[in-house]
Every structure is written in structure tokens, then in C-alpha cells.
């Protein structure tokens, strides 16, 4: 047999182990290819509206993917080679020289790398159209982005991953060559000692988690922001401690509960988990943290998506709004807008015209827009009016968001200054209840009783008066409306003219894009999680085969063995997922504090989606694992 033959035979003998490696590498190649195709798309270079930022985001994401992929490939490759130390040891023992060994390893790496590349590129080419369709829908583009997979995309993907595969194969060479023969041969098959654990470390881990979770639940947004980094750190360490010491303590507890332990399933499963904890806990920690990162990141984006798109409508309640400071101009402009609307077949609208004025209060240096309470009530009629005013000296201060440093959420005394007059007021806070479209200048509204408003507007200076015209349209997001808004945007600057459709669409575009990018990056992370677990199972397959054979000889039936495998792999896979889910739940709670509303449901919806993906992967993996475990069956010996 030639050296080539040996290399090929190696590959074929280990094909199941290679599978996860090749699959995840190919998957990364595919994702990278898709991203690059989008980033380098000629049409996006010219720029759809808002697409430039999105492309920047994509570029950043593709760097993240590339770096993460490299780390992942390095890790999985070293795990893979460690499980094959004995094989290389045997080759050396039989007289294969170092030079030949290097050649075998390099050839093998070359084959695997090319295979992953070919599969990845083929899949990429297959899905690029679908990918563009998805992007188009999420960005709310009226036309689909046309198919594109030009030469630069291929060159960039092949160059980046070619370099990666070279780095990885050099790293694997180092792993093998740094050991001498005896170390290689001995690497496998050393009897494992039963691990010991420290109860204190387990308690410390638990304490760290409690502290981290407690901090994340702090009601004060300021505290939450300050906690972001320390809490991540604390929780990561806590997870690490709990995955080893904590699960050891738990398993040991179960081991000593005789009524529980001395039954078939726990007897074999618990003892086996204890036996393997030393090898398992690092992977479990890594997967738990990765899952937490994925769920939190996507949960956050999903929450922002829902919240901001919904807020876009809330902060821009009127389909079209024009704000001018000269009374004469308003009629003229109003006629023009009505005309443009008519040209676009929008005739079913409700028109209102009002006068407000700007003033100052102590607590807000940026000034407020004063409006009468009746207007506030009428405009928000049918919706939940947060505050009712009873006294002449009461007012509602409406803010877009709760800012962290200002006491916008507490009731307080303020003095309103209009011209020379100073009016003391009892101010009630209200958040995100804009009576008219908010813009850069119109972000704080002070809503006072009508009588007071009438008194004050006379005293207000001419320059502080604002003339506002609004058009309410039920179907504000119709195609006709969008045409009209696009035309009107050309005529008026942003501080005069605002439209719901525009605000809504730009939020959708930005966050939709973010969501899409985030989702794809998360898929790479998820694939990494899954392959980490896959490797965990497959590095030990020889051990496990022996174990199952032993049990089978003693008379454990096939069905029972299957159940046993199912239990053990289920625990291995879903412990970290559940841990990650709990972490991300607390993170979402913290996000809720920041956004001043509950977002847990979005977090859980996202988690459910990932659970389905993860579960599907688990089933596939389990099927492969069971099959390769049963390659040697007792009856065939």
C-alpha cells in the first residue's frame, strides 16, 4: 500500500468523525460566501436607501464569522487529532518516518479542506438566490435584489478559507509532532480516575449565579447598564464552576440516594455521567455560554425590532405632519400637500390644524412644546390616556423614552417659564405617548389644562409659536401613501415634514437588516455548539462501544441500550441549552428594564425557534451516533 493509500484509508476509517468537522466547515464556508455575495453586490454598493449602514453591518458580521470560524476550526481539529493520537503512534511505531507522517497529515488536511470548500461553495451557490429574497423582504425593498455571485465573491471566500485550512493543518501537525511515540500510543486508554469535587466551589458557583441574576434583575436602568460587563463575567465563571463542581455535587447526591440510584436507568446513566464529567464539563460550559450569547443577542434584536417598529408608529401617530413657524406659510403648504395626496389618489384623510408654543421648564434644558389637554385627550382618544388632570396647576410631561440619568419617570414640581411669567406646576410623567409626531425639535411635550393654555398662549412670544397641520389616514402604509410621502420629502426638510410610513419603513429597514445579519451569525455559532457536542460524543466512541458491548454481554437488551444512549446524549445536549436559556432569560429581564417594558416573551419566542433547530440537530446526531455505536454488534463477534 502506498502512502497515498494509507492517507485515504485513514480518511475512510474515520469518516464519521470527519463528518462533523467537514459539515461545520462547509457550513461556515457557505455562510461566508452568502455574506460576501451580499456585501460585494454591485447594486448595494450604489446604495438603496439605508443600505449603506446595512452593508457596513454585514462587513462587520463577516469578520466576526471569519474569526469565530477560525477559532472553531482550530479547536475542533485539535480535538479530532487528539482522538487519533494512538493511530499516529502506531504508524510511527511501525516505522513511518516523521517526514512521511507530515505528508500523510498534510494530504489528509488538504482533502478535507477542499471537500469542505467544494460542499460549502456549492451550497452557497444553491442558496444565494434564497438569501437575497430573504434580505429583500426584510429590508422591505419593493424590488428583489437580483442574483449575484461574481468572481470577487469566489476569490474572497476561497482565499480566506484556503488560508484558514492551511493554518489549521499546520496546527494539527504541531499537535502530532510535539509528542513522542510513547506519548502518542499512551494518549488513549489510560484508566480514568473518578473525579473529586469541592462542595465550596459548587456553592461559590451557585452564589455567583445568584449575584449575577440578582444584578440583572435590578430595577434601576443605570445599575443594569453598569452591570452589563461584570454580570457577564460573573455568570460565565459561575457557569464554569457549576458545570463541573455543581454537576458533580448533584450527581454525587443522586449517587448516594439509594432509593433513586439503584434502579436500572439512573444506575447506569448517573455513574456514566460521573465517570465522564472531567471530559464533559468544558464543552458543556462553552456550549452553555454560546447558547446564552445566541439567545440573548437574537432576543435583543427581536425585542428592538418589535419595540422600535411599534414605536415608530407610536412616536409618529399622524400619517403626515407639517410644522411651520410662520402662520401665512401653513395654508399654502397645506394646500400643496393636499394636492400631492390627491394626485396619488389619497383622498380619504382627516385634516387638523393647531397652534402650540415653545417654552422652558427648569428640569429640561431643551425646552418643551406646550399643548392643551383637550387635544391630548382627543388625539389619544380610544387609546389609553395615562394621566388625567384635575387641578389647574397640574401638567403631563411627555417624553419619548425614559432616559437613564434624568428623573423622567417620577412625579415632581416644575416651574414653567412663558415670557416673563412663571407658573409652578405639578408634573406627571408620561412616556411614549406623543400627541403629535415627534421629531428632533418636538420631543418633549408639556400638556396643560385648556384654561391655562389659553392664558399662556397670549403671553407667549411670536417666535415661540408653532403652527401644525396634520393629515390622519387610516391606511398610512399603502403604496399610494408611500408615493406621496416620497414626493413630499423632496419638498420639505425633515424638521418640518414627518410621516408615519417613512419612520416605520426606516426602522424596519435598519432593524430588519440587523435581525437578518444577527440570525445568520447566530447560525454559525449554533453550528459550532452542535459540532462541539458531536465531537464530544465521537472522540469517545471506542470507549463507549466497549461499554455497550460489556453491558450487552451481561444481558442488557438492545431496547434498553437505546434508551440509555438516548438519556445520556439528551442530558449532554440539553443541560447546556437549558443553562443558556436561563442566562438569557435574565439578560432579557435586564433589557426589559432598559427599554422600560417587558420583552421576556420575545426572548422566549426566539429561544423556542432555536430549540427547534437545536432539537432537529440533536435527532440527526443521535441517529448517526447510535448507528456508529452499533457498528460492532455482539452477534457479529
Amino acid at each position: 500500500m502506498t502512502l497515498w493509500g494509507i492517507a485515504f484509508k485513514n480518511f475512510w476509517q474515520n469518516r464519521r468523525r470527519y463528518m462533523a468537522y467537514v459539515a461545520s466547515a462547509a457550513f461556515s464556508v457557505m455562510i461566508y460566501f452568502l455574506y460576501t455575495a451580499l456585501v460585494l453586490h454591485p447594486q448595494l454598493q450604489e446604495g438603496y436607501r439605508g443600505a449603506i449602514e446595512a452593508v457596513q453591518g454585514m462587513k462587520a458580521a463577516s469578520v466576526v464569522i471569519a474569526v469565530f470560524t477560525l477559532l472553531f476550526l482550530l479547536y475542533s481539529n485539535s480535538a479530532f487529532f487528539r482522538s487519533r493520537m494512538k493511530e499516529f503512534g502506531m504508524l510511527s511505531l511501525l516505522g513511518v518516518s516523521k517526514r512521511q507522517l507530515i505528508r500523510i497529515i498534510l494530504w489528509e488536511s488538504l482533502c478535507i479542506g477542499s471537500l469542505a470548500m467544494v460542499i460549502g461553495l456549492a451550497l452557497g451557490l444553491l442558496f444565494v438566490k434564497l438569501f437575497f429574497m430573504g434580505v429583500s423582504v426584510l429590508m422591505g425593498l419593493s424590488e428583489q435584489i437580483p442574483f449575484y455571485a461574481g468572481r470577487p465573491v469566489w476569490i474572497q471566500t476561497i482565499a480566506v478559507f484556503g488560508a484558514f485550512f492551511i493554518v489549521v493543518s499546520l496546527a494539527s501537525l504541531r499537535t502530532v509532532l510535539s509528542k513522542n511515540i510513547i506519548e502518542l500510543v499512551r494518549a488513549a486508554g489510560q484508566p480514568k480516575e473518578t473525579p473529586h469535587f469541592s462542595r465550596w466551589k459548587a456553592i461559590l458557583g451557585l452564589l455567583l449565579l445568584v449575584v449575577g441574576y440578582g444584578w440583572a434583575c435590578a430595577p434601576n436602568p443605570m445599575l443594569v447598564v453598569l452591570g452589563a460587563i461584570p454580570v457577564t463575567f460573573i455568570v460565565s465563571i459561575g457557569t464554569y464552576l457549576l458545570m463541573r463542581e455543581g454537576s458533580m455535587a448533584g450527581l454525587d447526591f443522586l449517587h448516594r440516594r439509594e432509593w433513586f440510584f439503584y434502579r436500572q436507568a439512573p444506575f447506569l446513566t448517573v455513574s456514566q455521567l460521573i465517570h465522564k464529567i472531567q471530559e464533559n464539563y468544558r464543552v458543556l460550559t462553552a456550549v452553555a455560554i454560546l447558547v446564552a450569547v445566541i439567545l440573548t443577542a437574537i432576543g435583543t434584536i427581536a425585542s428592538l425590532f418589535v419595540v422600535y417598529v411599534r414605536d415608530a408608529v407610536k412616536t409618529t401617530p399622524h400619517a403626515i405632519q407639517l410644522v411651520l413657524s410662520e402662520p401665512g406659510e401653513l395654508d399654502l403648504a397645506a394646500n400643496r400637500i393636499t394636492q400631492v395626496l390627491a394626485e396619488n389618489n389619497v383622498t380619504d384623510f382627516h385634516y387638523t390644524q393647531m397652534t402650540f408654543f415653545r417654552a422652558e421648564i427648569d428640569g429640561n434644558s431643551r425646552g418643551v412644546t406646550v399643548i392643551p389637554y383637550s387635544l391630548y385627550q382627543s388625539i389619544r382618544a380610544g387609546r389609553n390616556v395615562p394621566v388625567t388632570l384635575s387641578d389647574k396647576n397640574e401638567a403631563v410631561l411627555i417624553t419619548m423614552y425614559a432616559f437613564l440619568t434624568e428623573g423622567d419617570t417620577v412625579q415632581r414640581e416644575e416651574v414653567l417659564k412663558v415670557g416673563t411669567r412663571q407658573v409652578p406646576l405639578q408634573v406627571h410623567p408620561a412616556i411614549n405617548a406623543q400627541p403629535v409626531n415627534a421629531d428632533r425639535y418636538l420631543s418633549y411635550f408639556l400638556c396643560v389644562p385648556d384654561a391655562l393654555f389659553e392664558e399662556l398662549i397670549i403671553q407667549a412670544s411670536k417666535e415661540s409659536l408653532l403652527y401644525i397641520a396634520i393629515w390622519d389616514v387610516v391606511d398610512w402604509n399603502s403604496k399610494e401613501m408611500w408615493m406621496a410621502v416620497t414626493q413630499l420629502r423632496e419638498l420639505y426638510p425633515e424638521y418640518e415634514f414627518t410621516a408615519t410610513a417613512e419612520n416605520y419603513r426606516s426602522s424596519l429597514l435598519e432593524l430588519g437588516m440587523l435581525f437578518f445579519i444577527g440570525f445568520f451569525v447566530s447560525l454559525v455559532f449554533l453550528a459550532a455548539c452542535c459540532s462541539l457536542l458531536y465531537f464530544r460524543l465521537f472522540t469517545e466512541i471506542d470507549d463507549n462501544r466497549r461499554y455497550y458491548l460489556q453491558l450487552e454481554k451481561v444481558g442488557v437488551s438492545d431496547r434498553e441500550l437505546k434508551k440509555l444512549t438516548w438519556h445520556q446524549s439528551l442530558i449532554l445536549f440539553f443541560t447546556p441549552f437549558i443553562a443558556g436559556l436561563i442566562h438569557s432569560t435574565f439578560a432579557m429581564q435586564a433589557l426589559g428594564t432598559l427599554l422600560n417594558r417587558t420583552v421576556l416573551q420575545f426572548g422566549w419566542a426566539v429561544a423556542l425557534g432555536y430549540l427547534v433547530l437545536y432539537g432537529a440537530f440533536y435527532l440527526v446526531m443521535y441517529a448517526i451516533y447510535w448507528r456508529s455505536l452499533r457498528v460492532t454488534r455482539l452477534a457479529e463477534i
Binding site: 455513574s271 461499554y547 460489556q550 444481558g555
Partner: protein
């Protein structure tokens, strides 16, 4: 009472080429309750094949095995596993202990598999451990004890569920001479005191000399049978004589054990 009745056992292995190997050829024998039988023969004589057939982990090409009144060829899949677990006890050359279980846990494995009540499990564990001198080792893991102790653990596991028959495959194969003697004395004691029926396959004449009766097998066929009298030393000499007739023996190195 007959515990084991093998009739006309034939096993033909189809290797990938055209050569068919007849590992076992029309082999018949019987084991009565309380017997301690050895099966000997040179390597390649088919004794391991025979034991695998008896252990129900392999099926004969033709012939029948009645174990404890059950025709094992009628059992399928899970029934077979259950039968093995309840009616048979095994001692293997490589001990076959589960690394992740302590000595005490390894011993009771068959009982736990069969969902016996905890009280019963504990009681039998104490009994068996006492008989085999393992009482002090129950909390230890297999890698922490010697080969002889591991094999005694395997023996304890083989008898704890009171099987109809204990099948031992070269049980002394991995043991030094002292540990081997100890193990065989234990087997003798189990056979005498607890009336455990034992069938052991071995090529070690010293180990075989502890049996009450020995069947010799050669090229898959029955060769001869000898019964033990009062003296084990005399029996050992008898065994060596038969082996030298069969040929292919490893009988020259064993004399020094006396």
C-alpha cells in the same frame, strides 16, 4: 436434573473468500445441576465458539441448545438479553467490569437491571461479597484493585442472581498463578457449597484440574472425557496426558505450579 443439553452443535463460519470454516462439528454434551465442567482443547479447536453459542451471543448453524429447560434458538432479540441476564452468569477473561461502577455496584448489576427491591439487592450483595472476600472493596473502583480481585468481582456478579449456570471463558487467562489458584479455589467452593453449576472453557491445565469433569474438544469435534477422582494432582497429570495426545498443547510450562 439437566441444566444444559447441547445436541449436534455445528457452527460454520463463512469467511469472505470461498473457504468455509467448520468451527464446531456435531458436538453434543450435557451438564447436570451442580456440576463443575471444564472444556479444553488446543487453540482453534472451537472451544470459544462453543462457549459463545452457550452464552447465546452467537447462534449455531445447526443443532439445539436447551438451557434450564429453554430452547435458546426460540428466543428473539430482547428475550435473549433477558434470558442472559436472568438465567446465565458470565466470567470473562478480560473481567468485563464497568469502569464507571464501583466493585459493589458491578456485583449487583444483574439485580439492578432486573429491578429487584433495594433491600433484597443489599442483602444479596453482602452475602456474595462475604463469600468472595470482597466486603472491604465494595466502595473501590475496578482500576483501584488487582486483577485477581477484579476477576472475583466478575465471579460475584456471575452468581448474585442465582443463575442456572455460570459460563466462564478463560477466567484465569489474565491472572498470575497465585490469583489464578485463589480464583479456582473460589469456584470450587461456590460449586461445592452453593451448588453453583459451572462450565468453564480453558486451555490452562492447572485451572482445569479444579473441575470435576473435563471434555476435550479437537477440530470442533468431541475428543474425549475424563472424570476427576479424589486427588487433584493426579487429575492434573491425567489432563496433561490427554493434552499431549491431542497435541498443540501448552502443557510443558505448567508443571512448576505444584
Amino acid at each position: 436434573m439437566l441444566v444444559l443439553e447441547a445436541h449436534g452443535l455445528t457452527k460454520i463460519y463463512d469467511s469472505r473468500g470461498k473457504v468455509k470454516t467448520r468451527a464446531l462439528d456435531n458436538f453434543s454434551f450435557q451438564v447436570h445441576e451442580g456440576e463443575f465442567i471444564g472444556i479444553m482443547g488446543p487453540s482453534g479447536s472451537g472451544k470459544t465458539t462453543l462457549l459463545n453459542l452457550l452464552a447465546t451471543i452467537d447462534r449455531p448453524t445447526s443443532g439445539t441448545i436447551r438451557l434450564d429447560g429453554v430452547d435458546t434458538s426460540q428466543l428473539k432479540g430482547d428475550q435473549l438479553a433477558l434470558f442472559r441476564r436472568r438465567r446465565l452468569g458470565f466470567v470473562f477473561q478480560d473481567y468485563n467490569l464497568i469502569d464507571s461502577l464501583t466493585i459493589g455496584e458491578n456485583i449487583i448489576l444483574p439485580l439492578v437491571l432486573d429491578r429487584l427491591p433495594l433491600k433484597e439487592i443489599k442483602a444479596r450483595q453482602a452475602d456474595v461479597a462475604a463469600i468472595l472476600g470482597l466486603s472491604d472493596l465494595l466502595q473501590k473502583y475496578p482500576y483501584e484493585v488487582s486483577g485477581g480481585q477484579q476477576q472475583r468481582t466478575a465471579a460475584a456478579r456471575a452468581i448474585i442472581h442465582k443463575p442456572a449456570i455460570v459460563l466462564a471463558d478463560e477466567p484465569t487467562g489474565n491472572l498470575d498463578s497465585r490469583a489464578a489458584r485463589q480464583l479456582m479455589e473460589t469456584f470450587t467452593q461456590l460449586n461445592a457449597a452453593a451448588e453453583t453449576t459451572i462450565t468453564m472453557v480453558t486451555h490452562d491445565p492447572f485451572a482445569a484440574s479444579f473441575c470435576r469433569r473435563i471434555l476435550f474438544i479437537r477440530d470442533g469435534r468431541f475428543y474425549s472425557e475424563i472424570q476427576r477422582g479424589e486427588s487433584r494432582q493426579a487429575f492434573f497429570q491425567q489432563i496433561l496426558d490427554v493434552l499431549s495426545l491431542i497435541g498443540g498443547g501448552n502443557n510443558d510450562s505448567m508443571g512448576h505450579r505444584f
